[in-house]
Symmetry: D2
């Protein structure tokens, strides 16, 4: 039997994360990257997932939209995430991947997130119809069994975002060229209409839209979001949960980020940072169960960093007798390197969800997101438990110690845990 072939259409396909995902996958498919290196950072490579027939990277065909008209090779050179020599080894393959023109709505047009290459000048209805045709053609032209749409665009302005609780309202808004509609909503709408799972890796308000949930329910389409959980916030969900368990009282958490890529440039604009901040700032209070602490997050554009992000956190908490303890964390790494394998995971897992008949927000995927929708789990390990409980093998392989007895006697522990 022939293997399924799945399309991955990425909004913002020339951005550092999407582009790195593509370059790395091609490198691996050509045998230029060892398996081990490729699997680093992918949670779906855990033994616990082996029982599920997830697709693998050789089954994925990449494409997408961007506001910059460059092929994937040119984008890789500009993104400077991987070494030029490495990029050159898959130059021909990369050159073949060109973005479709990105769509923008009146809401989000802005010089930092739109360009001459963006589609303008027609009605929203026309743009949506065009998007749907693009998805359908991509599927047909590539002989695909299915397509997943991953939303990886820049943060949009929060102000002026519309609320559309019903499908009827939403469709009317499209017809009326309503200025509250964001490009993200239109991509999601088109994807769901085309029966494509939709993943929102951005902080933008998209999948909270009631109309889109209604449509996903009707069309049986799985969704996942919001806002990929990579560096600094990952640490926050991990250490925050430790503080909670150890009953240590957070007094203040100061976070600053310096980064020099396009994301940094967009986020240095306060109207765009707002939406990002909401997710970054929103993570601690529900996790800890109290809000009487200082919490500050800065994002600064700092050119010398390029795609290398540097984060610094200063955390004050109170221990016994209210004595203070302080921890400083300095994080140095490329966001794309953490994010890319998660994108592959999400393609695999939402495609699998669709095959298994799941629809709507997949809350078992909470651990992938800063602000996971439709779950109250805010700590990293609570989220991981959701994941393991969902995917845990039916038979002998245990993924988490089930009880003391098992922990003591288990012979062949699953990779995730030592027990």
């Amino acid at each position: 039997m022939q293997k399924r072939k799945i399309g991955a259409l990425i909004v913002g396909v020339n951005g550092a994360t999407a582009n790195t995902t593509i370059v790395g996958t091609i490198l691996h498919n050509k045998g230029l990257i060892p398996d081990d290196s490729f699997k680093r950072g992918m949670i779906t490579e855990d033994d616990c997932l082996k029982e599920h027939d997830l697709i693998d990277q050789t089954q994925i065909v990449f494409g997408g939209w961007d506001m910059i008209d460059k092929n994937a090779y040119e984008a890789a050179i500009d993104n400077r995430v991987l070494d030029r020599v490495v990029i050159n080894s898959v130059k021909e393959e990369l050159k073949k991947i060109r973005p479709m023109k990105a769509l923008h709505t009146p809401h989000d047009v802005d010089e930092t997130i739109a360009s001459d290459y963006s589609k303008n000048g027609t009605s929203l209805q026309r743009r949506v119809d065009h998007l749907r045709e693009e998805i359908a053609s991509f599927k047909e032209n590539n002989g695909l069994d299915g397509v997943v749409v991953i939303y990886l665009a820049s943060p949009l302005k929060a102000q002026g975002t519309g609320v559309y609780n019903t499908l009827e309202e939403f469709r009317k808004a499209i017809r009326d060229n309503d200025t509250g509609l964001t490009s993200g909503m239109l991509y999601a709408y088109a994807a769901i209409e085309e029966n494509c799972p939709f993943v929102d890796f951005t902080p933008n308000v998209t999948l909270e839209t009631g109309a889109l949930l209604e449509l996903a329910d009707i069309n049986n389409v799985p969704l996942a979001g919001r806002d990929g959980n990579t560096g600094q916030t990952l640490m926050k969900t991990v250490l925050g949960q430790m503080l909670k368990i150890r009953n240590l009282k957070l007094d203040g958490w100061y976070s600053t980020n310096i980064l020099g890529n396009n994301d940094g440039k967009v986020l240095a604009r306060s109207e765009h940072a707002e939406i990002k901040m909401r997710d970054k700032l929103g993570v601690l209070e529900p996790l800890l169960g109290y809000g009487d602490f200082d919490h500050t997050v800065n994002i600064e554009y700092f050119a010398p960093r390029g795609d290398n992000k540097e984060a610094w956190d200063s955390i004050d908490f109170l221990g016994w007798l209210d004595q203070s303890i302080s921890v400083k964390i300095n994080w140095l790494g490329r966001d794309s390197i953490l994010a890319a394998p998660l994108i592959l995971d999400l393609i695999r897992l939402t495609e699998y969800a669709q095959r298994k008949g799941e629809k709507g927000i997949q809350s078992q995927l909470a651990m992938y997101f800063k602000n996971p929708l439709e779950t109250e789990a805010r700590g990293f390990y609570d989220q991981y438990k959701l994941f393991v409980d969902y995917y845990k093998p039916t038979a002998k392989v245990t993924c988490l110690p089930q009880n003391v007895e098992e922990v003591k006697h288990v012979d062949n522990p699953c990779a995730v845990v030592s027990g």
Copy 2:
């Protein structure tokens, strides 16, 4: 009905952790410390434990042994953990607490861990008998319902430590004044013989001794150990498990500690540091499931720090395509402030275990220790799961999300988790 009264006999009662535990408890019992401040850092104060009838701090009577002949007030002033003004407010109560003479064996006599005040010159059998009498008298004189012994002494030399697999061998070794017997083993032996739960908060080789496990089994005595998990290693078990779950490959972990208290002085001696290092270094490999990374731990005596410990970690790991990411952590806090509430937890939980008929190593308490005995759980959250599974309430209060469904609809979530 009268409340139970429980003795807590601490080996190393004048050390910073033990002494701080005592000062803080008295402060609270006199109403000088608000409940909230007192409960910080105590895991037993979580709502999930409410169903169990643990003793509270007002039911505990403190005592212990030390090689320094000072009362608890003098020790508190010297330890400089709490403010002098605060200490003075319970001066009279503290002055009444004087240590019994610490016992040492030929194995561990050393100028840093023994003194003129230590008991020397008699046979080991006499010393053990004397210890048992001291425990029995303390119980009788204070009208106690039970006694817990907590071992908080300095790290001993690893070299020359004896192995005693059976009770018979062990008793013969006592009679023969065997030089492989450590003071810790004799304290444990005496405690178990007196039916007292024994907690080992040190890195010393004590409860691994087969003879002691045999005796605990015969006498129905619960045990817990080894090596309290407070600052740097706590972070290691927390972040190490995150790396494992996220499938990020550790490349190197460099840890250095600078501290200026007596613990620092002892640990600056390589023959004592060895045993501590074993636990500090031993935590990562079983947690991660591989050992091909550099792992270095330094401990430096640095007088300006006093009891304030400063730790710095430089962690290198590999993400996707083997790209490296680096995290630096600087930890500034007092060990005693993290350790003291754990001591109270362990008194409560081992006393409870004895009442419930438990005996031997209590592996559900793994999360309290760097090197928890009789469990393979090495990650912080795996250990926490053991704890929650053991103590989880029988009825409605949930302590961890049981499955996706519950997470979505839970009404009255337990404090530990957000779900």
Copy 3:
């Protein structure tokens, strides 16, 4: 002969720096602080200055203005710089020091820097006249030989600050209640009119005013400013000069500050931060001689810190073959502890300058300021050289190695240098 008695009138006398200066001086004068501790951080205590007959701390009488009507004891308790027990030991002396009502002008009235206690409602001419009377009365009532005025108020808004090149313009502006006049200018004007040396320790635009320089020239009054050089910027002038000398190319310097005192609150308001930033950002380019690097400075109000300031810097520079090197600096300390001894230095040195017939900006004092006026010396060591060259003893004590020969054979080196 009786010792001179000198008044020190401080604008912002209840702020952390001014108040700490007063508390520390009284502690020392009462013999509660050893000489060594008192002299830490004072540059005038260097042996090189011994030949000059500077006044000492016992000769200083403190007073000043503030917008908060508290005595120095109440202010000290609120500032939380020193331990309460220590403050209480000079409670009576501190209670006697009460501020005069602070003056504000229409330009700078703002809820964060003015209060009901501020003087409002009269013409600027009346306010200035009143200030002069206050200075004169303070001098007479305390039997003083002279008075130095130190300006330690909060940063004002930059916007709307007037430029007054001539004394005539300035006096007309006062008469016209010109809205470009800042309170700082009026304090400086009144001080100079009363023949008092004036020190500007703030980032406000004050002594650049041509009119004030003209008046100082006429009245023979020495001036010093601008903006005290304490923590983060001190490091910048020190390390910046090292980079310059070593010919290493700065690529980017990211600085963030978190502080929880009133200064932090004022500076979190961008219109006030602007003027502070100007000095903080202005230090590197003239020092390095080029401007093609990223330079970002953040100031964040973070309550858990109180007066303890924490700063973090991430510095990228290029070494040989443009290879990058990165240094991160985390600074933890109280600004007041660094600033207070500098205030004492500046009182001593400007009083001395007046006696020696100096007038106008004292550029030999450049090392005290972030933005020293009337000098191009921007590196810490260039500024120090100015200082040493000015004060260097006439005779045998050498303060800096004069040439190789001297370095090799010097017998009794001055404390400042090793040569």
Copy 4:
């Protein structure tokens, strides 16, 4: 007139610093590196030095000794300091540079610093004679006007190092195969006998040897040393002098280094670290003028770092009223990148010194060394002053502000300073 041609013979020519110096110089000479990048980190490129006719990089011919028999290309690939693509662009030139066999004495033979390729088995007299012949041949074969010898070998054991106060003693020791003679001494002896300036960039005891100073005096040979001042210690001399000037009292300085190159491997052996530590630890006390502080330096071999050195310092000092302030510094960079331009400087400056008739230790070069010989200047800026005073131009270009007046009116300031 033809330009002078000068040989640079490096002991340890395949080590990271020497090899990088050679690769970078060839890259520049071939026009593959812009002038600006090449000059970064070179102090001799300052305008103040322009008046002196120093040789330039095109006039230098490199050669040297090593215990590893690789050509410069192979060494560059192994050292991993520069990118492989960059190294390949000068592959042919590098392949031509092969080391002569390194010499070792019985004193310093050790598996980490000797190899089969080292010269053994003959008398010391023969080895010295051979060294001299090698130098002479190198000069003749390359048609050189002079040769400078730079000692860049690994740290040797301190124990057993001989003291030879007179030339007579030294020559007798050679004849007697004395075990106190180190390889460094023999290299220095041979160089001086051949009239070559000798630079000691290592912590080894070499130029303190009285016999060698005597010989340099007789032969009119300039010398410079000891122990190149690059990363962590550079910061120490810079910040230490700031503390001194600001009269802040050092309480403790904890330094740790992690590095993964061969240097790291050698220094992880305590008998080799001893000599390095002496210089690292020796820098603060003479600079500060007191010794009552804790000072700890760790060096750890940590493979993931490679040639990238990471250093972390935790500095505690006391400000006013003995209040403590703490600074943490994290340094991330390649030692070779800081050291290589200094090697070029030292070649240029010692060659120049010889032409100008200087002999013996050149103490004006103190700023290049951790432990500069024959000077008491220990602060970075005192050392820089020595340098500037020595080389300062005779005419109009000023290199340091000479006095207040000049600072105010200077029109065309020299690059080094802002005045």
